[in-house]
Amino acid sequence: MKFYLLMPIVSIVVIVIQTALLDLLFLGRISVELALVLVVYAAFRLDVVKGAFLALFLGFLHDSIGGFIAGVYMVSYLTVFVVSKTVSPHVHLNKLGFIVGYLSLCMLFQGCFVFFIYHVVAGIDLPASLFIHVFVPQAVVAGVIAPLFFMLLDRYGGIFDD
């Protein structure tokens, strides 16, 4: 119960930090996808239902604040969560290299997913340069911040404990 009460507050804080604070700090040049990092963390550390709710809520908030096509972030976060949950029993999240690589991969996957939605469902072909300008830097940054974020959550993320 504690989780479901605190989850909306934590999600709002993460989205505000991501869309307001970090956007201003990086002068609007690089987007730091804290929400996606949290989704991956939830996949490795949380119960599947709690994690799925968290992914859905984070995606919904991100769609409401920044998205143009509602549901893109919701579906992409949930997909990343389900994939991560599936691989989680087979890997250890304690290795630094794995965290960096896996988060970068998830970020690139999210980019591919957005392109896929635009191409197949909306019928719009986004230019490849957009992928390179937007998602590649995001993947690098997500990979770099992930170990620190995971460490902080392991230490202070009481509400995420099962």
Binding site: I12, A20, F60, I65, V75
Partner: protein, 275 residues
């Protein structure tokens, strides 16, 4: 129920996934629909926090620019004074032409240009770095704001409203890849579709190779697509590329408005004027 035993969690996750897919499908079926209740709540809840963060950063930035970063101010002042003199001369010439135009319009019996009512708004949040370029403003349905209303700044067009909550709204910037504006080149009257590139500029599409467009040409709204009134300043042509194999020119347009420094905006209440 026995068949649910041990499958409860996968079923819940499946339902959650189904909800997300349904939202996505609904948006794709009805892309210009009204903002949903849950989305309105989310916008209402998050915007005060974004406003607070934005306020603190703007205050620090202002203090820095006004009191610390004053290097080269004298030089800039001299340049501006010279520019002012040149522009004063130009203004007098233009004023003469304007009055002449008014007289001729009267003679021809043409209708005077309609001036639209506007609502001033302040930017309280922004999303510029991801694929989607949007800003949140502090005016909503209670102020008469509606979806698809054009938004402008002092320098020119900013974008259009895409989501409206009670006291806040979301604006799609014209540099976003999803933004398309029907526009014309002021000098040549060439029509085209201005699409955001997802970067800091836009691309003017469907302009025939035979058109004589040059860098520096002014781009304004055509008033044809139904969202933007005619004659709003968008920006200037920054580059034109002619390719032998292509039917259309590749035209880059720099928006007049600096999308990274948006603070106060005007929402043009076009819908109030339409019968």
């Amino acid at each position: 129920m026995p068949f649910l035993k041990g499958r409860r969690k996968p079923i819940i996750v499946g339902i959650i996934f189904f909800v997300a897919l349904s939202v996505l499908s609904l948006c794709l079926i009805n892309p210009s629909g009204q903002t949903g209740f849950c989305k309105k709540i989310a916008l209402q809840v998050i915007s005060p926090f974004q406003h607070a963060v934005n306020y603190v950063f703007t205050a620090v930035d202002d203090a820095w620019e006004r009191y610390v970063f004053l290097v080269g101010l004298a030089e800039k002042n001299r340049e501006l004074e010279e520019k002012y003199l040149v522009e004063t001369r130009e203004r007098i010439t233009y004023r003469e032409s304007y009055f002449e135009c008014l007289r001729l319009k009267k003679l021809l019996g043409l209708k005077q240009g309609v001036s639209y009512p506007t609502v001033a708004a302040r930017v309280v949040g922004r999303e510029r770095s991801s694929l989607f370029k949007t800003v949140i403003i502090d005016k909503g349905a209670s102020d008469g704001v509606a979806v698809d209303l054009p938004v402008i700044a002092a320098a020119g067009v900013v974008g259009k409203v895409i989501d409206v909550s009670w006291t806040v709204s979301k604006v799609l910037l014209l540099v976003d890849y999803n933004s398309s504006i029907d526009c014309i080149i002021q000098r040549t009257r060439t029509q085209g579709i201005l699409q955001g590139t997802g970067d800091d500029d836009c691309a003017l599409k469907y302009v025939q190779c035979s058109e004589k467009i040059a860098a520096g040409d002014v781009v304004v709204t055509s008033g044809l697509a139904g969202v933007y009134p005619k004659g709003l300043f968008i920006g200037t042509v920054s580059g034109v590329e002619r390719r032998e194999t292509q039917l259309f020119l590749s035209v880059r347009v720099s928006p007049a408005v600096d999308m990274g420094r948006l603070e106060e905006l005007l929402i043009v209440m076009v819908k109030e004027m339409t019968p």
